[in-house]
Amino acid sequence: MIACLSIPGFELKAALRARPSLSTRPAALAPGAGEEPLLGPVTAAAEAAGVLPRMRLGEALATCPELVLVEADPAAAERAWEEIVRALEDAGFSVEPAALGVAYFETRGVERLYGGLEPALRRALAATGAQWDARIGAAARRFAALAAASVAKPGNVMLVREQDVAQFLAPLPLTLLPLERRQYDELEALGVRQLGQLAGLPGGAVAERLGPDGRRAWGLARGGAAARVRGRRPPAELVESLEFPEAVGNELTLRRALGALVETALARPERRDRFVRKVALGARLVSTGSGAGGSWRRTLTLREPSADADRIRVALAPRLAELPAPVLELRLELVELTEPVGRQLELLAAGAEDRTRLREGLRQVRASTGSGSVCTVMEVAPWSRIPETRALFVPRDD
């Protein structure tokens, strides 16, 4: 069976860990800077007051004036999610994280260990922790497992047997499908509101109307493919951070701090000569007046694994320009390390053979057509408005 663990509103719950008193009050995740002013997930108290996720900010504040806006804390959310995934891995599950708050895992390998499917899923819930209100859906196919998790009650498990998949999916809303807003609207205008209605349509007609996305959604509405779960490789734990005495917004200072962090992280003995494949750069930001300051985090996969401090620094430095506010703490994580393998160096410089062949070809042309027949174009005044004065052709007899 494939199981899907789901924690709705995960980013809000992660942000509220620093301010637990807000969990019982109307609160919502504030929209990010520069984004459309739509609310993120909301607390149960906010929902009871009429505030819904993705509601416009103005409308939400008019509906519930005491609504507290919580600034997103992506670094804290990623750390919390990493803790959960590790707890599941420690319990023996091979986990494939799909997004923050959603992960898939295969139960077959651990069912005998825990004495059956349901005890194994209960163990996974226990490993996650009660404070997250996680729920688990299990089915033979991924989409059916995700759908089951979306309707399961907090702290509960829902199993869908293969023969019941179509019947189970039929009354569920279309919003479970990965479609764009306009595609939902188009389907709704056609009177299609439930997965069963979509699944009942001819696949070709859906593809013609909604394109490849629609065809994919149609396939999912019929249960989806039985894709395998590919457990992740647990990330490395090599973190270096630098706390500043006061908030720093100067890019030059941040670049120097980054350079120091890269060198310190690479010098750590735990790296054991391994190359870095994936790095994450995070920052704790200065408070903007509405309570605790947020955080910022960017991950980067290097094109080629490297242990060269300069290359890593050059790859990460442009990300510093994306920082939205002055920084109190800069943090570098070596997320994924590769085993050291020998790298084959080139005996001859790249392209040397091509150049030799080109030179030989030119020599033959020159021999047959005479001196001065092979020329190089040399730009002399590329800015000129008179075309014939921009470049010269100069003979090459070498």
């Binding site: 001065g372 020329c375 174009v377 040399m378 408005r385 008179i386 075309p387 014939e388 004065t389 921009r390 470049a391 010269l392 052709f393 100069v394 003979p395 007899d397």
Partner: protein, 92 residues
């Protein structure tokens, strides 16, 4: 004796890229080309003027036309305001 460090070979033979070539052009009453080297013009795509070096003895005063000929060929011609002749030119 000090050797001449100039590359005499390059100086001798270096040429200008995209030198104008004389063309036989029939023009309409408004000065736009109707035929270039006996081929009719199918489309006039663009027209512009270049006025330069007016402070020298050899001022440049050109009216350029980017054309599509009936054979499908794209070409650029200009009318030299100083000499009164027509030329084709690449790289314009």
């Amino acid at each position: 004796m000090v050797a001449d460090t100039r590359d005499s070979r390059a100086l001798r033979t270096a040429g200008r890229l995209n030198e104008p070539r004389p063309a036989r052009v029939e023009a309409n009453f408004d000065g736009t080309p109707s035929q270039v080297n006996h081929v009719a013009v199918a489309l006039l795509r663009e027209e512009w003027r270049v006025v330069d070096r007016w402070w020298t003895e050899e001022p440049v005063l050109r009216r350029y036309f980017e054309l599509v000929l009936e054979t499908g060929e794209n070409t650029v011609v200009f009318h030299d305001g100083a000499g009164g002749r027509w030329y084709t030119q690449r790289g314009a």
